[in-house]
């Protein structure tokens, strides 16, 4: 199509099929944070990175530069097995049917979404051959008597955890209050200034 308008020039040609453009960005990794020792890990968001180790390095400052935290871990988004999502009074575990047991056993970490709009929270792990089978076991272990809208299963061996010796990465974080806007007490300063100018 002939046109001087660049927007028209960018339109795909009618009838022609174009190969999908290769991704011009890094893949994504999911980031989980343990805010206090003993509290369950919670999904905090995702991050772009070229590989798992880089994802760990970049996630550390992107997600834990302000609020105190004791540990994080990351996993390639492609390694997160997600269940369907339910609504209202229906728990997603009602949709889970028994799976054939397999001889191969892997450890899967299990995460629940119990309120829409909130984050997935770690509930424990199970041994199973496939993520589908892991959900069957998780249903018995963690699914009784509550409504869970969505479940994630992540193979433990795919996760880049914080090692025991790396736990000191956050040691000085509680002292870095200067990273919080509230530490500058801008409101107080403004109030004092206004009072001074009024008098």
């Amino acid at each position: 199509m002939q046109s001087l308008d660049p927007r028209v020039k960018r339109l795909p040609q009618l009838g022609a099929t174009n190969a999908k453009q290769a991704l011009d960005q890094f893949g994504t990794y999911e980031v989980f944070v343990e805010s206090k020792a003993g509290k369950p890990f919670q999904h905090e968001g995702s991050i772009h990175a070229p590989n798992l180790e880089m994802a760990y390095v970049l996630a550390k400052e992107t997600f834990t530069r302000r609020f105190t935290c004791t540990s994080i871990y990351v996993v390639n988004t492609g390694n997160v097995f997600t269940s369907p999502t339910t609504e209202g009074n229906q728990s997603v575990y009602e949709l889970v049917t028994a799976n054939a047991a397999s001889s191969e056993k892997k450890v899967f970490e299990i995460y629940h979404l119990i309120k829409r709009g909130k984050q997935h929270v770690h509930v424990g792990n199970v041994e199973a051959g496939t993520p589908e089978a892991a959900l069957t076991i998780a249903k018995n272990l963690f699914g009784e008597g509550k409504i869970v809208y969505n479940v994630w299963a992540i193979e433990q061996s795919k996760i880049r955890f914080t090692s025991a010796e790396e736990k000191d990465l956050w040691n000085t974080l509680p002292e870095k209050k200067f990273r919080d806007a509230s530490d500058y007490k801008g409101g107080d300063k403004l109030k004092n200034f206004l009072e001074k100018t009024r008098n």
Binding site: V57, L58, E61
Partner: protein, 251 residues
């Protein structure tokens, strides 16, 4: 304990960290990736924070207030090595400098956990986690880009060759070297250099980069005795610009 020897050590460490912290903070908002921008800026803040802790120690030894020391000296009164004052250039150079300096810095603090000057040993233990992150970050990037593409390898190699003569200047010995070692304050620049070399060789060996023959390189020294490149004074002028408007202001 000879106070002059101790102050000499504290000043060069603090000045290194303040100047590199400031340089690295110039990347804020311009980093190659959002996530990296945040990480690099955070580490710059850590460095300025570490320099503040050292200036506080100096203050307890009778030196002037940290802000006065940081913002009112001229270039020839600074004891940082010239490596840290060089302009950022492109990200490959900043990354290589970060790798070369932070490897030495982490090893220096590791040696200082044994210092006979108890307050310095305590500080060394306290910031161990920050240093662990800085070296993890540097090593991961160098391993990544040092084996990624033809361009990334060539860029890192060029930057490595530019930065090496300056990084040898980190280990410029002071007139108090013997004293600082015999009193158990610090194990000395020579020992640090040995450990540094073996550590950077270990990381570079995992990439397609190579370290040129160090014996053929003339170290760029002088920084420790106040001799600097033309790049330091403009940095100081900019860094102290706001402070000089009203030195008595509380921020």
């Amino acid at each position: 304990m000879n106070q002059d020897a101790l102050k000499d050590l504290l000043y060069k460490m603090a000045d290194d960290l303040l100047i590199l912290g400031h340089r690295n903070s110039e990347w804020t908002g311009f980093g190659p990736l959002l996530e990296e921008d945040i990480a690099f800026s955070s580490m710059a803040q850590d460095k300025v924070g570490q320099s503040y802790a050292l200036y506080q120690l100096l203050h307890s030894l009778g030196e002037r207030q940290p802000d006065t020391v940081a913002f009112t000296r001229n270039a020839n009164q600074f004891h940082n090595c010239q490596l840290v004052e060089l302009p950022n250039m492109e990200y490959d150079f900043s990354l290589i400098r970060h790798f070369l300096f932070d490897t030495a810095d982490a090893l220096r603090w590791e040696m200082l956990t044994q210092s006979s000057y108890e307050l310095l040993a305590q500080l060394a233990k306290k910031i161990k986690g920050e240093l662990r992150y800085h070296t993890l970050h540097a090593n991961t990037w160098v391993k990544q880009l040092g084996s990624a593409t033809e361009e990334s390898i060539a860029r890192l190699q060029t930057s490595l060759e530019i930065a090496l003569p300056y990084s040898l200047g980190i280990f410029e010995e002071s007139v108090f070297e013997r004293e600082i070692i015999t009193t158990g304050i610090f194990g000395g620049e020579n020992e640090l250099k040995k450990r540094w070399l073996s550590k950077i060789e270990e990381v570079i060996a995992q990439t397609q980069l190579h370290i040129p023959e160090l014996k053929l390189i003339t170290p760029v020294i002088g920084g420790r005795i106040g001799q600097h490149s033309e790049h330091l004074q403009p940095l100081l002028d900019e860094m102290s610009e706001v402070f000089r408007i009203d030195p008595s202001a509380e921020w």
